[in-house]
Symmetry: C2
Subunit: 360 residues, 2 copies
């Protein structure tokens, strides 16, 4: 195929005008059955593909994607999906895609509900959001399904309600992987702790899945008789209280030789541990945020599991755009790789985030 097939070529071959071809193409206006069949046959024969460039120019439209993400001033982790989202938006700006961002307090459903109301009062073409609050998020999804607004989710997966897609990690298998990585540092008869430094209101399903995966790893794979200790502390921003809690936990569970921190806050754990304890305990955490990176470099953290938050934001937008503009089929569940990060390879992941704006 040397020359791109145009609707003019289709029209000539089918013996109709370009207006008729356009009407068949867009299922618009009236076209006789006879003309329709002729046009469709020629399109198929010539393998016609619309010129998205010309279509975009002619349409001269603006499509708005509203985003609803946790406020990154509450938790630095959320700067990263925002970064990925912004880079994707930059890449597709010339297609007339614009964004209206909304933020909510990670620990306050009121702010989430307020933002949802604003979004639905002036509905966009599509929504990208992080479903931190299960019940409220399901309501948003149901309403969007009713209004046929495509929704892409990141970070947390909600099933049983229709959405365009989920882009994020598989929390169960991140728990399995955490088990595997901790296992390298464990000997026969020692104990491993799974530590949740998070609030009860957020991501309960994630927590359960990670723990289950972690336990299943040791049940099914490790022959070292490892005891699993579960631990959780909500007031992780209270330094003294957290320190007391950690010290007490380590005293109570003296066989613990590995800790799997299931949120991005492994650094808060390490802030509370004495050097001697750190030498004897391997720590596996999540996410390449600055305080974690410093401890990884100091080998106080053995592994970080990268949830690819930048890519979540990026691909969330790209999937929406692919659906809206290119009429692409979208895979409903898209798990991102569970990157294993050590001091020797972390640099490349950090560079990757910076280079995202090279992608069209």
């Amino acid at each position: 195929m040397n020359k791109r097939i145009r609707i003019k070529d289709i029209a000539e071959r089918a013996g109709v005008s370009t207006g008729t071809v356009d009407r068949v193409l867009h299922k618009r206006g009236n076209v006789s059955q006879k003309a329709k069949e002729k046009v469709l046959a020629v399109m198929k024969d010539l393998d016609y593909e619309p010129n998205i460039i010309a279509s975009t120019l002619a349409l001269n439209r603006t499509l708005r994607i509203d985003s609803l993400l946790p406020d990154f001033t509450t938790d630095v982790y959320w700067q990263q999906p925002k970064l990925g989202m912004e880079k994707a938006l930059q890449a597709v700006q010339h297609y007339g895609i614009i964004n209206r961002p909304y933020y909510f307090d990670l620990f306050d459903t009121i702010s989430f509900k307020k933002a949802v109301k604003k979004i639905l009062d002036d509905p966009p073409e599509a929504i990208l959001f992080a479903p931190i609050f299960l019940e409220e998020s399901m309501k948003l999804l149901e309403e969007c399904a009713r209004r046929k607004i495509p929704v892409a989710m990141i970070n947390t997966d909600i099933r049983n309600v229709k959405s365009l897609c989920y882009v994020g990690q598989d929390s169960y298998h991140s728990g399995v992987l955490g088990g595997k990585l901790l296992d390298f540092g464990l000997n026969e008869g020692e104990a491993a702790m799974i530590l949740n430094l998070g609030k009860e209101t957020s991501n309960a399903k994630h927590v359960i899945n990670k723990e289950q995966g972690f336990r299943d790893y040791f049940t099914q794979n490790s022959s070292k008789n490892i005891e699993i200790v579960k631990s959780a502390f909500e007031d992780f921003d209270q330094q003294e209280e957290l320190k007391n809690y950690i010290m007490e936990q380590l005293r109570t569970h003296q066989h613990v030789r590995g800790i799997f921190v299931i949120n991005s806050r492994a650094y808060k754990l390490i802030n509370c541990m004495e050097s001697a304890a750190l030498k004897n305990i391997k720590i596996v955490g999540f996410d390449l945020i600055q305080p974690n990176l410093e401890y990884l470099q100091q080998n106080k953290i053995s592994f970080l599991i990268n949830q690819n938050p930048v890519q979540q934001g990026y691909l969330g937008i790209m999937n929406i755009v692919g659906h809206l503009l290119f009429k692409k089929e979208v895979e409903p569940i898209q798990y991102l790789p569970l990157d294993i990060i050590v001091n020797e390879n972390v640099e490349y992941y950090l560079q990757r985030e910076l280079q995202f704006d090279l992608v069209i």
Copy 2:
């Protein structure tokens, strides 16, 4: 900014015609200094950005990117950069980008030189290639620099000659990482082998870098007194000879408890090893090709390091396109992450390769 700024808006504001604005924009034809300054000032004031969509349509041009990759029938690894390249080409097809692919024999410089001649006899707008043969590749790069043909390299990095970019792995640090990953399975006083199942003619620099990185890891990080054993075998396609060689190597170096295979052919090593030996020796290899994946699943390979070959092909093309179409600055050296692959996370990397066509 509610409405996109057009050249018409610039023209009105500067008191000239759109033809003059176009001439200033493209440094074409004649424009008086006075008009030029006015136009540039308005452009800057209004933060004008050309509409790439309209520009592409008006230009109605075809840009050809020639690719020069090793023949994937010789080595299955090379199917993957080809796949990434094809997906990128698909994504940018509507910009009028076409591809002419050339393939060469991985172990025969003649085929490479023949392909180079064909490319240069009918020069494309840009070239994507894998510089397997150092000397011949440098000649190609010098000629392209002379003719101002942008070249993107993947898999092997050639410095000191001008090119658009290199997208690939950092071979030194992949050696370092290999050392780290093997170190998990090693005890005091044991030995680690670095095994090269490759031909002398290919990628010598890569080999040297990986080995150096591997050695440096143990020198600088491991306190276990690990002896490093270097081993290489060229006739890796001769099953009996390879088996004899491996058996002899394992007899000679009985303290070897870990083997780092520095090409993608770890599976060939495992084909030659007896079950008993496999239980005592950890193996770290490269690349998610089918035979390796099977052994990873069977836990005969402990880790694979993913060189991201699909992404190399993909980003090689995307960088060229960004440069040609969007006049983007391209980062000259782009190292891809060194993914650590275990049985528990491999699935996500495989799925990622399949989903690439969702990206615009």
